[in-house]
Symmetry: C2
Subunit: 308 residues, 2 copies
């Protein structure tokens, strides 16, 4: 399909692929680390240039990613590919730096309920915990991405006020985060909320260039929300190959926005990504066979040769 460029949209979008981390972390199946390494190599071969590789969280909490020490060294040949890793605390940062990680991410909660549930801390206590993590990463010349979770709705608190997100965003920027990823962790957001939050963040002096969006497709809203963010000037979009990853806090097997569904829209809009959709779809079908379940991505399903 030929591009149909539209005014008000960016010419290029960087896809921040979160399948190996946010995706696999929420899949029931435990994959061998060599399959994960092959997955990441296939993602890179499809043209993805930022691939969140794993998380250095305690194995007790996320058994799916307990193999980070074995997986990460297998990615050393991926020249020119950014491989950020999630670090929950200083101990995780130590492990990541020891293995040579060149980018890290911290995962903050905007709401008190989720901070308590996920981090066993208040929001401020979690930010205090991240302060030395970010400082030490920057000392090592390792840039830090800050995830903000529950930016739109929270399973315990309902709709999240915009000023709560702005406050945490401001703090993470002041602590030194190079980029913030605005997460709709339970997938409830609608486009008006996206516009409202991005406008408020700009009003607080946080430039759009430092913002990424991270939508889950739990209620089928992820792509409409992403389109809204693109119209606002956002050019970094988190997505998960094949729509990997259920949401543990919503009654649905649907996870992140599928990278393929995103690419179908971006290609149609004439927005460049450098990613080969057919090759990525092949990778998601290959991984689905390893996971023993079909991809929830509409585009993967439509392009699948098996369903003809």
């Amino acid at each position: 399909m030929s591009p149909t460029p539209e005014p008000g949209l960016p010419a290029r979008v960087r896809v921040h692929e979160v399948g190996p981390r946010d995706g696999l972390q929420n899949e029931k199946a435990l994959l061998p680390f060599d399959v994960k390494a092959e997955f990441i190599h296939r993602l890179a071969a499809a043209g993805l240039t930022t691939i969140e590789a794993t998380s250095f969280v305690h194995p007790k909490w996320v058994p799916q990613l307990a193999d980070a020490e074995r997986l990460f060294p297998l990615l050393r040949d991926l020249d020119g590919v950014r491989l950020p890793v999630l670090v929950p605390n200083e101990r995780g940062l130590d492990r990541a730096l020891a293995l040579g990680a060149r980018e890290v991410a911290v995962f903050a909660s905007v709401t008190e309920s989720f901070a308590r549930a996920n981090l066993n801390r208040t929001v401020d206590e979690s930010l205090a915990m991240f302060t030395p993590v970010i400082a030490r990463a920057l000392d090592a010349e390792v840039p830090v991405r800050g995830y903000l979770s529950m930016c739109f709705g929270d399973p315990w608190e309902g709709e999240v006020p915009v000023d709560r997100v702005v406050r945490v965003a401001r703090r993470l920027i002041d602590l030194g985060c190079a980029e913030l990823s605005l997460g709709d962790t339970i997938g409830v957001a609608t486009p008006g909320q996206v516009t409202a939050l991005l406008t408020a963040l700009n009003g607080a002096g946080i430039p759009t260039e430092r913002l990424a969006v991270h939508f889950h497709d739990t209620y089928g809203q992820a792509l409409a929300n992403t389109l809204t963010a693109l119209r606002h000037g956002v050019t970094t979009v988190d997505a998960s190959a094949g729509g990997l990853g259920g949401c543990p806090f919503a009654k649905s097997a649907t996870g992140n926005l599928a990278t393929e569904d995103l690419l179908w829209m971006l290609e149609g809009l004439g927005i460049e990504t450098g990613v080969d959709l057919d090759r990525l779809t092949g990778t998601s079908l290959w991984l689905a066979a390893h996971l023993g379940r079909p991809s929830p991505s509409r585009t993967v399903s439509a392009l699948s040769p098996k369903e003809s």
Copy 2:
């Protein structure tokens, strides 16, 4: 979730529910006509005010809707609900009028390939066939909706030029259609195409108030496309309860935009529809049990009490 009104969007949207016709027509399962009648009653009870009830096509071509004569009389008690029916030709119109149908629809193709495949005619021959159908309906004071299929992409011809759609739209308006429904029959469209087509139709003197959009979610684009159409001023949106209906021309089990996914977005945007989302979700779960397969709607899945 409280509404977040956004400038440039309509205050109210009319949902044109196509589940009983476009949805069930493309489902493998054959439902008893009394189950269909209950389905339509439940849709009306959920607040839907326009429900496309069935099609008076020859039973040989669409066995799923061969019971139109038995079904339609069971809907007589639905006061205040518009119940359009599809009529493929004069014979179908005769059958519909004999049963007291008060609104009908014709189904035209924009592309020669699909006109040949679906109607065994050229585009112009199909418009000639519709001419007396529309004229006679108007004589009987029965308004006619014109469906335009393959408005964006066609499985044989690829991307469809905008001027081809404009030509067929102009003809159907001139023949007397009160409303046109712009169909992305294979679900390939992206938002730039939606803007381009709506702009071209306005340029050809067809007012947006007479346009409805009809997206399929084959590649996960339906809601982003719908949002784009709303921004352009469209206020009538076709959708199918529970996302009923596969697409027979694409390798996917995914059908029409799910009414529930649409409602989640519209409610979040503070756009009124008069439809009760929870009640509709209950109806889609009830019908899914009759069909023996889960609803492909993300919202139905997320709201389903069974998946907790």
